[in-house]
């Protein structure tokens, strides 16, 4: 579904990614974990088309997508829920969800999906006409996910969906993610909350200082020797 090969990204003279390779198979939930500044968000942003990589390849459904603009990728089925959710606070909840369907041509299918979202997230139905900025953090996260799902993505990427949320809400978010997988959506999730990520995902990549330092099945990774070093260490020189 998604294959990233030897990806390099720099912001000016600052190197953010130095040769990252990951792959995600259809139907998988894959997690990328790592400390602050490891380059996880940069990886997500380059896959989504917001950051242009300086080197390397990104293939999505067997076509090269590196350097393509974000608005074209979302039409191809690749959606990102960015860090901090980034809901449109001055727009209503309904407008936010509707915006998610922007790349879709089929209005009727989009309308049906809107109904589906409101059933999946009843709180959004309740708040439909309110300004999205008035929602609580957890509700905003639900809204951000619903908005992304309106594009009918094949691959959903979430950047730190648990950030700033109460444990109960985090659990709810990951229940939703598990539900999505059942309906055929592939999920790539970035997390700092190690335990949550390892529990919810099939496979996990550990990132540090702009590189993948460890990878494996999530259930086995925790006991692997060197796991904590990989996570907390300074990464490769």
């Amino acid at each position: 579904m998604l294959a990233v090969q030897d990806l390099h990204v720099s912001y000016g003279s600052v190197v953010a990614l130095r040769g990252v390779s990951i792959d995600v198979a259809p139907g998988e939930i894959v997690a990328v974990i790592g400390p602050n500044g490891a380059g996880k968000s940069t990886l997500m942003r380059s896959i989504a088309g917001l950051v242009r990589p300086s080197r390397g390849e990104i293939r999505f459904q067997d076509s090269a997508i590196a350097g393509q603009p974000a608005e074209r990728l979302v039409a191809q089925g690749l959606s990102l829920v960015p860090e901090g959710r980034r809901i449109f606070g001055s727009l209503t909840v309904g407008e936010n969800i509707q915006l998610g369907a922007t790349p879709r041509g089929d209005r009727r299918a989009a309308a049906a999906d809107m109904e589906r979202m409101l059933t999946l997230f009843p709180i959004l139905k309740e708040r439909f006409h309110q300004k999205a900025g008035k929602l609580s953090g957890g509700e905003q996260q639900m809204l951000a996910i619903a908005r992304a799902l309106m594009a009918a993505p094949k691959l959903l990427m979430l950047d730190e969906p648990s950030l700033g949320l109460a444990p109960l809400i985090v659990r709810k978010v990951y229940e939703v993610i598990a539900e999505l997988r059942k309906s055929g959506v592939t999920v790539l999730v970035v997390e700092q909350a190690v335990h949550v990520a390892l529990t919810a995902s099939d496979r996990t990549y550990v990132m540090n200082a702009g590189a993948i330092v460890m990878a494996g099945r999530s259930a086995e990774l925790r006991g692997t020797p060197g796991f904590e070093d990989a996570y907390f260490g300074a990464g490769p020189r």
């Binding site: 917001l50 608005e71 915006l99």
Partner: protein, 293 residues
């Protein structure tokens, strides 16, 4: 009675300022560009009217609005699209350069003298309503502005592209992530901005009766000040700022001692500075909705 008369003057001048401020504010809200060449869009409308002198007024007006809209789209395509994503200072300088280029092109072709001609001359006559004498132009301005504001409001609230533009104004990258096409919202913003400049040019010419290569300069400055007063990046703010600036200008004109009136604009800007010290973010500053967790 004089108070009512002044109030009508104020609302009408404020309406024009609001249209100018919206034209500038629209572009800024979407791409963080302060387009000083907006004044040259107004100039373009003025010269379209001049060239078409003698045609029926409606032909002149429609042509001016269309030409300015196309000019605005061309401006985006040629000057600003290559600079997409550049920092705001670069964009600002580019808009200055464009503004001078257009002014001096017109200077080369038409010369520096203001050229008088008739456009909607009849509207400068006053209409008597009871004991009030209201210039017809002021009534036309208020009616047209009300219709434009209503149309814009509906456009931004109801149409898909309008909602996309509000989203892009709030968070451009996120708008792209949900599939909003950057080229399209920016082009529509320039088209609307051009249309508004076209309407403003009709007023400037009808009111002043002449065109010159500098005719847009003053208006763009006013528009900029108005949008800062209203809260940069907020469209309702830009409209509100325009109305306030119009009201303050007319009030100063009416109530300043006679010998100070020639310096009215100095007082307007003095008040503007005082306002900025008190509320630098403007009246309807965009709240950082996103900060909430």
């Amino acid at each position: 009675m004089i108070l009512v008369q002044n109030a009508i003057d104020a609302i009408s001048l404020g309406a024009i300022y609001a249209l100018a401020a919206l034209g500038v504010g629209l572009i800024f809200s979407i791409m963080r560009l302060i387009n000083f060449a907006h004044g040259e869009l107004i100039m373009g409308g003025g010269f379209t009217l001049y060239v078409l002198t003698g045609e029926p007024y409606i032909v002149m007006a429609v042509a001016a609005i269309l030409i300015v809209t196309v000019l605005a789209l061309a401006m985006e395509r040629v000057a600003f699209r290559p600079l997409r994503g550049a920092n705001p200072a670069t964009l600002l300088i580019a808009s200055f350069a464009l503004s001078y280029l257009l002014q001096h092109s017109v200077l080369l072709i038409f010369g520096s003298r203001a050229m008088g001609f008739d456009f909607l001359g009849g509207l400068n006559q006053s209409i008597e309503i009871g004991s009030l004498r209201v210039p017809g132009l002021e009534i036309a301005v208020v009616v047209v502005t009300a219709l434009l504001l209503l149309g814009l409001t509906l456009f931004f609230k109801r149409s898909a592209i309008g909602i996309q533009m509000r989203a892009a104004a709030e968070d451009f990258d996120m708008a792209r992530l949900v599939g909003v096409r950057a080229d399209r919202v920016i082009a529509v913003a320039f088209a609307l901005s051009g249309m508004l400049a076209g309407f403003v040019s009709l007023y400037v010419v009808a009111q002043g009766g002449s065109v010159s290569y500098k005719m847009g300069v003053n208006m763009v400055l006013v528009a900029f000040v108005a949008s800062v007063i209203g809260g940069v990046g907020s469209l309702p703010g830009a409209a509100l700022g325009g109305f306030l600036l119009g009201i303050v200008s007319v009030a100063l004109q009416a109530f300043l001692p006679e010998e100070w009136r020639p310096y009215r604009d100095a007082f307007v800007f003095l008040l503007f500075i005082a306002f900025l010290l008190w509320r630098p973010q403007g009246i309807l500053a965009r709240r950082a909705d996103r900060e909430r967790v």
